[in-house]
Symmetry: D2
Subunit: 372 residues, 4 copies
């Protein structure tokens, strides 16, 4: 249920409505639309039945300052366009300048699948920046299908990411796999990635929702769009509005590709939700030769960004080398991304000129941690 | 098995190799690559075992004029890039000038899902042409999931298509559903469409393969890319080289869209095969609001064309109105298609200026039929 | 729309209702339920709109002899339990005695995937009969994913099937792939199989619907249960009531099995429809070691029969040897099938004692043809 | 890599081999097969490359007491039949007597989807026991697709389960959702359930692997069989051998059922692995009317047990009422389960006669906790 206030509704009237909701056990959440306050009554979306709801609706409609009381047509509410008609812009305070995801500009994230060594990460990070990325990706904690596979460097990997961040000024996105490590990962990173296998790990969603750090929420391998938006709703409902959705391919019967990028999902999610959507053509295809064309397709379809895997020596990569671009391939792709972005009347965000003493000016690990 | 001849191999040497193949029960097929004749030995792809094949290979390697004998790594052969490294350009002699699919230019096909009436079809056909399409689509024979659904106007629909063809000069693509109707449909149309439900209707594939008319082969709803290319191989193996592949969405678990466009398939099929690939964003999404973004994505991913459903009054359409663009939406989409095509260094084929007396100059139904 | 007549409604009253329906362009079909005539008005199921339908309903409700006028809740009508509450029993007049599918007894069909030779077919046919099958399966026309694969012996295969039928007294089921061959296949066979790839080949469904020969309708590889029942509706709507449904596995993401048997579909289809349902554990698994357990599961779930592939030498089979049981494995499975059937209070139909001069007494090919 | 020792190999020889493995960074694990010790070298399965492995193999083959050194053909090792040819029997020390899963007897688990109240749980628990279940299921922590859905009673739910356990003597299985709660859930329960959404929550798998409590590992909604067995391998690799696999339906395109029970998986997993496999026909179908037939199918296919949802008033259930059997339906199903079990030469484990003072004799919560 969404309560649209009149343009001239007073703060007292807004608060009075909030109180009426709380008295019925419903949590009020405020948003804004065309100069008006909008109040979402959490817990009234979807099939959930609330005793006395019809009567409450009638009372709300009569209350001072209320223009309309609308039902929510989707099972998610805070994530819906109905509740929040304007697109959400997620702001990331990177060392080399703020990055905005969900605005006019398309944001490029690049880096290795997995942090393997200082040399590998720094080579990739510098190449990422030179190619025009503003965000560095890299896994320190890696989900491995086999218990005998490589599971990442852990804290050592986080430290390398912080080093690359300081050197390049790029913001960093890295995966967090369990609630107990959210605080630690927040101390080293700008964006918390929730991986596809954890899209319905609700304790993890709750925990990143209690953080203020932006969250990159990958779509689960067999998650419907509705389930994906409900996973975002978990994070939003905890008070963290900074959710970035990432389409990374779904599981289908096709065997020549690792996953099937659901390109339909890009415009559909933009229509259903105000949250930014990016695409991962590396995971989404599993094949280096397909990454470029699918990246361009994503931009043409309206994606707000891309996240691609790059590696100085893909054939020597510990994980997923077959889907990593070489640094040269990545450099060659970026002008094409800019051209397609221009064709759909957008541009690609560029890294700002790095200050002369980047390491000193980058937020220290401690400062980052306290901000989390 | 593919036999690469030397650049200086004589016709007699080529024929001698062909004879050796025939003597082992194998059908030879010629292709060309960088100035050399290439001979494909049909029936040696995939798992099929041919008695005496290793010995035959040895003999072929020693034969005069032969440069190399290569195994085929895919179960299809004529459809593979290995056999035919250059992209195939399918040429369609439309009234208003030849249309080429698979070349530098992207080809636009538009029209109603189903031919309903003269007024509906002509309105859509003129709008298609004005928006920049060179090919008119429209179903006269329609597969209907229910026996009680509309199954098309049949011959009356074909006649209306011929009328629209004559008036607009556009080439026409329409579906043929059974071998017995191939000749009839050939009499009225420029491109034979084999629908998704019939992708493995092998008698139909054989029959359109015996025609010389270009064939638009839609991917089956649960067909792997390999099965799709093997369906194309059926047509090619009958001697018809003019196959255009069409990705139209696969069946997945997602319920908010009718199908899931497999955007990965576009570049992958271009890499595996020399055949042109187009995309159907109308069937592929089932939702009008997604047709535009997915059409742009297809072009960015490297598609050689688009086929979109348009209708003067989508809400009154007998079939699939929810996925049909209005004529205005279609007109608004076309400049965006051109912009994205330019971004990937291609252009969109435009209809040539129509002759002053188009009806008289259009090939008559009889002439078309005799050409089939 | 279904019109339930009163128990005492006269034939004249029934005919009057039928006339009213015809006057509105609707085809009446009669069924019976608990001593009453039930009239289905074809073309009123699902979304199809018929002008003047509400007024017609009112008139029908007032007409003499009518007890109730019911909407149809499913898009199929003749296939629904609502229209035909009693289970349909399909009767097959085999040389060695009538076989009934859909009654108390479970029916066993066995034989080779493909007819390869007289020796192979007769060995399999005799083993099938000795193990307790009443129906012989065997493909003379085979759908092959590759144009270079084996496509069956054709008429020679049909003749071998007729020979095996005469020798063993078993009824024969074989696939028909195109409308033009329905009459020919009818001349040699007792049950027409429509394969999974042809489940939505509507011209073929229409044609087998115009036959009176029982039809084994396999579920398409990506067909929903609703689409499958609508395919059955095509056959029923042409006047052939003898449809047997066959679950043969659907396409999923699982890669260790060829298909995924949808065991849920067995009881669900029995609840939604009155048609008999059998299961094909050979196609459904693709692995010999799984055929037995899945066959038993199908019987436990309520299947009315099984169709299994057996071969005297599976490892030398031209097609699908990996999923064929040896004759010994088949013989070993049958007592287990009987035990599970007994556990769910059913039994397995046994072949009747063959007459002393079976060949002479079997219906001649000519007689069979004229019956088709 | 698996090292088969000679039947007469000494403990010293076995230990020597183990040392050789450790010296190469490989963890040795012992198993037994036909009177011989078998040593698995963890970390050598699948694609993982270990430097010097071929040389080590040669040395092992020459070492005293070694009969053979075998490669592992699957990416999982401890879970494979190759490593552990005999079926694993998981033993659960319930108050009313030990329950064995994976032996000759089929084990029945029943109870409500979610613990809602004392009255609801105790009614279901007594009915479960009277019908012949030996294990009580019930969720205290529930994964909910929506953040506004019911997420379970938490500790209060665990306490009710302990109460029901004491009253009925049944063992209890309940879901644990995050590593931090494993210890708590162990304190109240006999079997830890890892739900489908958490099948690849590797921290949770590690944590339940460090427990000695049996683990019921549900198959993920889009998990291949190989991924499922690799998830089991995570638990086994941590030292907990008590893993029970549970097929609960996979996600497919079919829309009339909630999930698609992969019945093929039951015999296939029994062939690939030594671990017991049970089936959940409630989650697997989502429809009460299908639970019985699919339960019988599972038993016929070789499942070692069933887990079914029952509820005193399904229509008033907080969660998943549509798939819960009434207590009467459950009571009616059990004799059918026994009949089908007998048909496949197995029986259904019955609850032992409860002691006269069950509450006092049931292990206290503290005792249970210390055992965890």
């Amino acid at each position: 249920m969404i309560i649209m206030m009149r343009p001239d509704a007073s703060e007292r009237e807004v608060e009075q409505i909030s109180e009426m909701l709380r008295a019925h056990g419903l949590a009020p959440r405020r948003s804004h639309n065309a100069g008006r306050t909008v109040i979402g009554a959490l817990g009234t979306a979807g099939a959930t039945s609330v005793p006395g709801l019809p009567e409450l609706c009638d009372q709300l409609r009569e209350a001072p300052g209320v223009e309309a009381v609308l039902p929510v047509s989707q099972p998610y509410q805070l994530a819906s366009r109905e509740f929040h008609p304007e697109p959400t812009e997620v702001r990331i305070p990177a060392p080399a300048g703020e990055v905005v995801i969900g605005g006019e500009q398309i944001v490029m994230m690049a880096g290795p699948c997995t942090v393997e060594s200082e040399a590998q990460l720094l080579a990739a990070a510098h190449a990422a920046r030179e190619g025009g990325a503003t965000i560095l990706r890299g896994g320190a904690y890696k989900p491995s299908t086999s218990p005998y596979g490589f599971r990442g460097l852990g804290v050592a990997g986080l430290e390398l990411l912080a080093r690359a961040r300081a050197e390049t000024g790029l913001a960093v996105v890295t995966e967090v796999m369990t609630p107990a490590e959210v605080e630690l990962v927040c101390a080293y990173t700008d964006i918390l990635q929730v991986g596809a296998r954890n899209m319905q790990n609700y304790y993890l969603l709750d925990e990143v929702g209690r953080s203020t750090r932006p969250v990159l929420l990958k779509r689960g391998l067999a998650a419907t769009i509705e389930e994906w938006l409900l996973a975002a709703e978990y994070i939003l409902a905890q008070g963290n509005p900074n959710v970035i959705l990432c389409e990374r391919g779904i599981r289908s019967f096709e065997r020549l590709t690792r996953n099937t990028v659901d390109i339909n999902a890009v415009p559909l999610v933009k229509q259903l939700s105000h949250l930014p959507v990016i695409v991962d053509p590396s995971q989404g295809t599993g094949k280096r030769s397909l990454v470029g064309p699918v990246a361009l397709a994503a931009v043409a379809a309206g994606a707000d960004g891309l996240i691609v895997e790059i590696h100085p020596q893909p054939d020597a990569a510990l994980k997923d080398g077959a889907q990593s671009l070489t640094l040269e391939q990545y450099a060659g792709l970026m002008p094409q991304v800019r051209a397609v972005a221009a064709a759909v009347r957008r541009s690609v965000a560029l890294p700002q000129t790095l200050q002369t003493t980047p390491v000193a000016q980058a937020p220290s690990v401690v400062a980052l941690a306290s901000a989390g």
